[in-house]
């Protein structure tokens, strides 16, 4: 039994709504103290997995243990160990930020003094001190997300689920949130997150699972996945069409955009690959250069053979 080192053990998980199969035999293990990212487009089944693991939804088939407890037989033990921040804001908008945190502290059964102390610490740590006594409906998107996460963390869960935690956030809020997640991991917390962004999975996750149509189609570290994806490229912008044509002739695998005066050369992201592109270029005549790594579309194209687009018919009821 390896239950002591595994925070999540899922085997053969299925879920369907009538004839519509949403999860089609998912196997998933997450070691304690690590970050696992479920990567996939809308409708892939990410939220359904989170909802089942957090006891919000009953699973179809499969063995599911979260924090060592069976989600069907002992949901209370699961709930005692987890914290969830869903896709939709789970704050009480009629209450102030402080009152929201106090509500969570009380429900976590902290004592009066401990609750007050913890609320103050969380307000400070999540940069909400100035807004603490304002009603939450006046908060910006980033502030709401921070409050949401603070509410999840106030009970000190050992395992947290984050469902698209940075969707709709500006770049700065996104980085703030990443920093908070890393802090948690440093404290030994296990994190399961879902995301549509490869760079987010790349930044945060120890392991990444690519979910498509209710199945895990690939799993591994970010580096392992990227090696399987040839989607990286170097884009070179030229000053005039003649130079573009000359460079295009030197790179038979490149694609040319004559209107934007741009040449896109496939690239695996290695220094050697980049250098060979650079060596073939003249110094003058190049207006700009960008190195683009594989994105979710590339991953999907490579791993599933189809682009990562949401299929409306497979939207998951949350």
């Amino acid at each position: 039994m390896t239950a002591t080192t595994l925070a999540i053990e899922v085997s053969g998980l299925t879920k369907s709504y009538g004839d519509l199969s949403v999860l089609d035999g998912v196997d998933l293990t997450v070691a304690e103290g690590t970050v696992y990212a479920l990567l996939g487009p809308n409708g892939a089944g990410k939220t359904t997995i989170i909802n089942i693991l957090s006891t919000l939804l009953t699973p179809g088939d499969g063995e599911i243990r979260v924090a060592g407890a069976d989600v069907r037989r002992d949901p209370a033990a699961v709930r005692a160990a987890i914290g969830v921040t869903g896709q939709f804001s789970a704050i009480d908008e009629l209450l102030t930020g402080r009152e929201n945190l106090r509500l969570m502290a009380d429900l976590a059964h902290l004592g009066r003094a401990a609750a007050a102390r913890t609320v103050a610490v969380m307000l400070e740590r999540f940069d909400l001190v100035d807004a603490a006594d304002r009603r939450a409906h006046t908060y910006s998107g980033g502030m709401k997300r921070r409050l949401d996460l603070a509410m999840t963390l106030i009970g000190r869960p050992r395992l947290i689920f984050l469902d698209e935690p940075t969707a709709g956030l500006d770049p700065r809020s996104r980085r703030d949130l990443w920093a908070i997640v890393r802090e948690q991991v440093a404290e030994g917390v296990t994190v399961l997150l879902t995301t549509q962004y490869l760079d987010e999975a790349d930044h945060l996750a120890d392991r990444i699972g690519v979910l498509d149509g209710g199945r895990l189609v690939a799993e591994g570290t970010a580096a392992e996945l990227k090696r399987r994806v040839p989607g990286g490229r170097v884009s070179v912008q030229f000053t005039d069409p003649a130079r573009l044509a000359a460079a295009a002739a030197a790179h038979p695998h490149a694609t040319t955009d004559a209107q934007a005066l741009t040449l896109q050369v496939p690239n695996d992201g290695s220094i050697a690959g980049l250098r060979s592109v650079l060596d073939a270029l003249d110094h003058d005549g190049v207006a700009g250069l960008t190195v683009e790594s594989a994105d979710l579309d590339d991953v999907f194209l490579a791993l599933t053979g189809h682009p990562a687009e949401a299929r409306a018919s497979e939207e998951i009821p949350a």
């Binding site: 869903g86 939709f88 429900l107 059964h109």
Partner: protein, 264 residues
């Protein structure tokens, strides 16, 4: 989950609901306004005519006599009106993301609902006090002593408790806030087919049978006796019985719905 945590979680949820009531007063004001409107309508528009038709008045009744007669009915309507709001606020709450959060937490499951019910009962106590004060202002004088008043208020609180569990269930069962504001309307209508505004003897036989066997009639009769300082007889026990049955049904129904209803 121990009983101590159930009580503690319910108290926490009650505090949350009391803050909601304070922060969103317009709903409460509307709900207290409704029985006051009926009170004014019945006393000043219908009062003189209706008062003359009361038994024992032999055609010479007046507004003040009618005010005394309808007081218990108006108080019960106040309770029903607040209960209507409970269905709305429960349904509204279910649309917010925080309910899903509560479901993933290791807390007493029913505490979310208990918080709504206890909040509603406290709200009802305020509403009943306001409406009673208003009736006294209009000239209502009851023959009851302090004990009678206390018993009357106790019965009203019990009715509030029963109707709150029932309307929490309606709020959970509703697929939208609009539905939740419609389904409990019968609670405001039902007192009209009772002994609230006219003696049931004045109704045709079929309707009279309905009026005499629906829960509001024994509740109103018991309240009327208590407020007048008369012995309430068996009505008070029938009234309590109805309240217990409705509470139990509402509680079990709501619990089942809360576990079943998926996160929105």
């Amino acid at each position: 989950m121990s009983t101590a945590y159930t009580v503690r979680d319910s108290a926490t949820m009650l505090r949350r609901n009391l803050v909601h009531i304070r922060r969103y007063p317009s709903l409460s004001i509307m709900l207290v306004g409704q029985p006051i409107l009926f009170l004014l309508l019945f006393v000043y528009v219908f009062g003189a005519t209706m008062g003359a038709g009361l038994p024992g008045h032999a055609g010479v009744g007046d507004r003040s006599a009618y005010l005394v007669y309808i007081a218990p009915g108006i108080l019960v309507m106040t309770v029903a009106s607040v209960a209507l709001g409970t269905a709305i606020s429960t349904a509204t709450d279910m649309t917010t993301g925080i309910i899903a959060r509560f479901r993933t937490m290791n807390i007493a499951r029913a505490s979310v609902l208990t918080g709504h019910v206890l909040g509603a009962v406290i709200k009802t106590a305020f509403a009943v006090t306001i409406v009673t004060a208003f009736m006294v202002l209009l000239g209502f004088r009851a023959g009851a002593g302090p004990l009678g008043w206390l018993a009357a208020m106790g019965l009203l609180i019990l009715v509030a408790f029963a109707l709150s569990w029932l309307t929490v269930g309606m709020g959970l069962a509703a697929d939208s806030v609009e539905t939740a504001s419609n389904t409990p309307m019968f609670l405001v209508i039902l007192p009209f087919v009772s002994s609230a505004f006219v003696p049931t003897e004045a109704m045709p036989p079929g309707l009279r049978f309905v009026a005499e066997h629906q829960p509001f009639t024994p509740i109103i009769n018991a309240l009327r006796a208590l407020l007048l300082g008369l012995p309430p007889g068996s009505d008070v026990w029938v009234a309590i019985g109805w309240c217990v049955v409705i509470s139990l049904f509402g509680y079990l129904w709501s619990r089942r719905l809360f576990v079943r209803v998926p996160a929105k």
